[in-house]
């Protein structure tokens, strides 16, 4: 008989989500599920025009409607009229001009959502419609007057590195277009604001990625001290970057303060498309110079990111783009010019991959062109160029992260390819799916590759620290942090960390709110590293205090004590007591702030140690293409990802599979279509997301080479899955069709004409 030890939910185990049970029952309270006594509904009036001057706003019609309690415009904003993550250039409500379709102009609070809709319809805004600036090149060439006092160029960044006159015999170039992708989280924006009884402050339950940054921006606009604005995380139905900016936070709070009643706001799907920033559409030109052996000698590149009407995080997205020009390859010489510009298109900002998605689509297209030009296999050409720890990047920064890139590529290549398509395949397995458009003979299979590196955490001197508190009492631990749980599973990981460090099993976490220091944003693949580091640090401090306590009780030097499973043990003696027993009638609480190492701004030539760390990944895509109709079915994605250390295998697999689906979406179906500043498809009927029938088989290898710089050896895993999968799929389509396709998403007409 063997005795199986009970698996504890420590680091390395597939611990289950603590909120899983409530989520499968429909009990979990998303921010849209919240209610308060005497609550009003809020709604927003938005501009139908991409660019117009506001001549007048007549609110009288709305005020006359029974059930309407409040109508507000820019005139009613008590504090700063604008907000923004990096530059405060976006109005709470448009005042003189509207600069994109969907820009907020007014808001109402009423007794019913339908009353709100009728009130909005009764507001008369007279616009002088202006010609929108929609071509990003016209923002650069100054052919147009600035559409914003801050000018039409949000940021320009060049990178000049090495010998700019270097030449090499093989030259390939291409111009790549990346469409505007939407994060399309399922739980649309929502918030519930409850004013304090004395009117001096406000509590806001909101689905967001970064409570403290929201609070900072809200307090300024509301003219309240930050401590009078208390934010609590409402359950978040996905984020993917779209909740990093302010959307309805200020509007909801302001309506609540004006009415002295709780106000709930919730966007519908159409409004959500207008209510948050999107992934930047970009045009990227690259020219690679290489030797006949395939080794890259120089890269020239030009990036244009269309930031839309307001800057959001455009300047940081630009930096991520240009600094990832080389991809995960060595490149001694580079000349890069990059622009993030302002247009009257929808504002763009953070989305999973953050500028690197765009850069990767271009550099991987270039690697395939280089493979063709040199006659070297597409896997081999990548292997010959891969970057290693210790190499200098085009920013002059030395790559310090562990870089198991060769393993990523080789392990991906070693995974089995899918079986040949059967003679009589199931109709749903063919491109076109239930539409039954194709027969077996219409299908061609293709294989393509994509490899990428992605920076982790924030860059350019930003100290995006995280804070956590650990309280141990009577064998139980309570954690406190402000880390936004958006679905990624930090609420699973944090207790795992505490169990591992402290040898306890019963770990809970307190409400996620602003009653503790900032955790920074749930973005940039950073929370496992940053908030994980903070929880780890707080738990270690508590452990030291526990050892001191036990040492004092038993007359042992605390340095001799260690945690073994759920016991405190004397490493050179015989003492062994359970943590439960050791902490009986003992309470200790410690708060820890985790900071990553400092980074620097880039100089005018794009030189500087601007990034903290990097993660690597390889993707191989297999697609079936109906070439004549231009329809694609992604059959299989094989991937090996550098994760540092696997802290929760099931969570990591979930991130990888989910990221791949989003990258697949960008490759073949997801695009916000904007014509002359008008969004044409703000709905799930016309903005298509992958369904269960679009999901490919996914083969995964998690490459574990713990990074000594990472608090637990683990790298963030959120973004890497969605970056190089897109170019891999597009490369597979090129492979199947023989067509040169340099844009994504690939549309049927890009294939069949």
């Amino acid at each position: 008989m063997t005795i199986t030890k009970t698996q504890r939910d420590i680091l390395g185990s597939s611990a289950l989500r603590p909120d899983g049970v409530s989520k499968v029952q429909g009990d979990f309270a998303f921010s849209s599920d919240l209610h308060a006594e005497n609550m009003l509904w809020g709604a927003t009036l938005r501009s139908p025009h991409p660019y117009a001057r506001i001549i007048s706003i007549d609110l009288s019609g709305a005020w006359k409607i029974a059930g309407v309690e409040c109508v507000i415009t820019a005139e009613d904003v008590p504090g700063q009229l604008t907000y923004g993550l990096i530059s405060e250039d976006q109005p709470v409500f448009a005042k003189d001009f509207v600069r994109y379709m969907g820009e907020p102009v007014a808001a109402v609070a009423a007794d019913h959502p339908e009353t709100c809709r009728r009130a909005l319809a009764a507001i008369v805004v007279v616009y002088e419609v202006l010609t929108p600036l929609t071509n990003p090149e016209h923002a650069i060439d100054e052919a147009r007057e600035p559409i914003h006092p801050d000018g039409n160029i949000i940021r320009r960044q060049q990178i000049i590195h090495g010998d700019v006159n270097a030449t090499a015999p093989i030259v390939v170039e291409g111009t790549y277009d990346i469409g505007m992708q939407d994060q399309a989280f399922l739980g649309t924006e929502s918030a519930l604001a409850i004013p304090d009884h004395d009117g001096a402050g406000i509590e806001v339950f909101v689905a967001t990625q970064w409570l403290h940054e929201d609070r900072k921006q809200m307090a300024k606009c509301l003219a309240l001290p930050e401590e009078k604005v208390r934010l609590v995380l409402g359950g978040v139905g996905g984020a993917f970057g779209a909740r990093e900016d302010i959307s309805l936070q200020v509007h909801t709070a302001l309506l609540a303060m004006r009415t002295s009643r709780p106000v709930k706001m919730q966007y519908g799907r159409e409004e959500s498309f207008f209510g948050h920033v999107h992934r930047h559409p970009a045009q990227i030109w690259m020219r690679h110079h290489a030797n006949t052996d395939g080794r890259i000698v120089k890269i020239e590149a030009r990036f244009v990111f269309d930031g839309g009407a307001y800057s959001s995080t455009s300047s940081a997205v630009l930096i991520n783009g240009v600094t990832h020009t080389q991809g995960p390859y060595q490149c001694p010489n580079a000349i890069v010019d990059g622009y993030a510009v302002r247009t009257n298109n929808p504002p763009c900002g953070a989305m999973r991959g953050f500028g690197v998605v765009q850069a990767c689509f271009a550099h991987e297209g270039q690697m395939d062109k280089l493979a063709v030009a040199t006659g070297i296999d597409e896997v081999e050409i990548r292997l010959r160029n891969i970057i290693h720890t210790g190499d200098t990047m085009i920013t002059g920064q030395v790559l310090e992260s562990v870089a198991p890139l060769e393993r990523c590529i080789r392990e991906t290549a070693a995974m089995p390819l899918p079986r040949e398509m059967e003679a009589h395949p199931h109709e749903l397995d063919l491109p076109g799916g239930s539409g039954r458009t194709a027969d077996r003979r219409n299908i061609v299979r293709g294989i393509g590759w994509g490899v990428s590196m992605k920076n982790l955490m924030y860059s350019e001197g930003f100290d995006d620290y995280s804070t956590a508190r650990c309280t141990l009492t009577n064998g139980s631990v309570e954690l406190k942090f402000a880390t936004s749980e958006v679905g990624q599973g930090f609420v699973t990981l944090a207790p795992q960390i505490a169990r591992s460090v402290l040898g306890v099993d019963n770990v809970t976490y307190d409400t996620i709110d602003t009653q503790i220091g900032s955790a920074g944003s749930t973005s940039a693949s950073r929370q496992t590293w940053m908030s994980g580091g903070a929880v780890d640090g707080a738990c270690r401090m508590v452990r030291e205090r526990l050892f001191e306590h036990v040492g004092a009780l038993h007359g042992i030097d605390p340095l001799r004590l260690a945690i073994d499973d759920t016991d405190v043990v004397d490493t050179i003696g015989s003492l062994r007591i359970t943590v439960q027993e050791a902490s009986t009638n003992f309470t200790v609480s410690e708060t820890f702030e985790y900071h990553h190492r400092p980074t620097q701004d880039l100089d005018d030539n794009g030189q500087g140690n601007c990034h903290v760390a990097f993660a690597f990944v390889a993707h191989r895509a297999v697609v079936d293409v109906d070439v004549e109709l231009g329809l694609v079915k992604v059959v299989q994605i094989a991937t090996a990802q550098d994760v540092g250390r696997v802290l929760n295998p099931m969570s990591v697999i979930g991130q990888i599979e989910g990221g791949i689906a989003q990258g697949l979406g960008l490759a073949v179906m997801e695009e916000i279509i904007v014509t002359n500043g008008i969004v044409r498809n703000p709905s799930f009927t016309d903005y298509l997301l992958p369904t269960a029938l679009d999901a490919p088989q996914v083969l995964i290898s998690m490459i574990e080479e713990p990074d000594p710089q990472a608090p637990m050896g683990a790298k963030g895993v959120g973004e890497a899955p969605c970056i190089s999968v897109t170019p891999a799929i597009v490369a597979a389509i090129r492979n199947a069709t023989g067509k040169s396709i340099d844009r994504c998403p690939v549309r049927p007409q890009d294939i069949c004409f």
Binding site: T437, M669, R680, Q749
Partner: protein, 277 residues
Amino acid sequence: MPVFIPSSLTDATRLLSNNPSAHLVTGGTDLMVEVNFNHRHPETVISLRKIPEFQHWNIDNKSGVVHIGSSVPYATMEHGELAQALPALAEAARTVGSPQIRAAGSLGGNLGTCSPAGDSLPVLSALNAIVHLHSETTSRSVPFAEFMVGPKRNSRLPNEIISGVTIPLTNGWQGYAKVGVRNAMVISVASVCLAIHDGNVRVALGSVGPTIIRGSESEAWINSVGLENVTPSVAQEFGERVRAESRPIDDHRSTAEYRRHAVGVLATRLLLRGVQR
């Protein structure tokens, strides 16, 4: 009372006469989208879901017709006897929205809305379906070709209710194909229904014109060639001719050029499937 749920056709038509501005709703899958997106603010609604004959269907082999009540959900058409009798309708039904939509949506809704992208409509066109309409005092039956008169326009009078359709059975192959840029739950970019009866081909095109387009000239050509003479190159030419009969537009879902191309390709493929070559 603004919501009526009549349990007979007589009651329904009377209610409509008395409330001419009422919205008719069966599954709700079209109307409620309009309401949710703030495009409609209904004040009176007549729900047709409880009228027994609207939920009824039968296959009359003697007369060679199938009758389908206007509230029969698409899910019922996807499998079983109806699918065996009308395979093209089954294939079209399977492409309507999601399983949830197919459990609620019905031919009455597709006909009432009459969108050129209505998935079942090319089938009703190719199969020469007859649409039955009733007012408080009249009843009439209209061939589909005369029923749909424009994009989202049909010849139903404001006081009439669609009770169902009669679809003649065919004695040859029938099939349907639809292009959308996703493998399921996708709105039609172009669709084709092809049916063979008494050795003659009929072809109808969706999403490539203001109405469903019957490819009459293509039909005449292929029927003069003869089905026994269909080769891949004949099918190719048939596709070219179908393509020429389409009248698509550019919109955010696709381009006119692609739609024209796609209906041609689908027509070629369906013809080859029909003759099993």
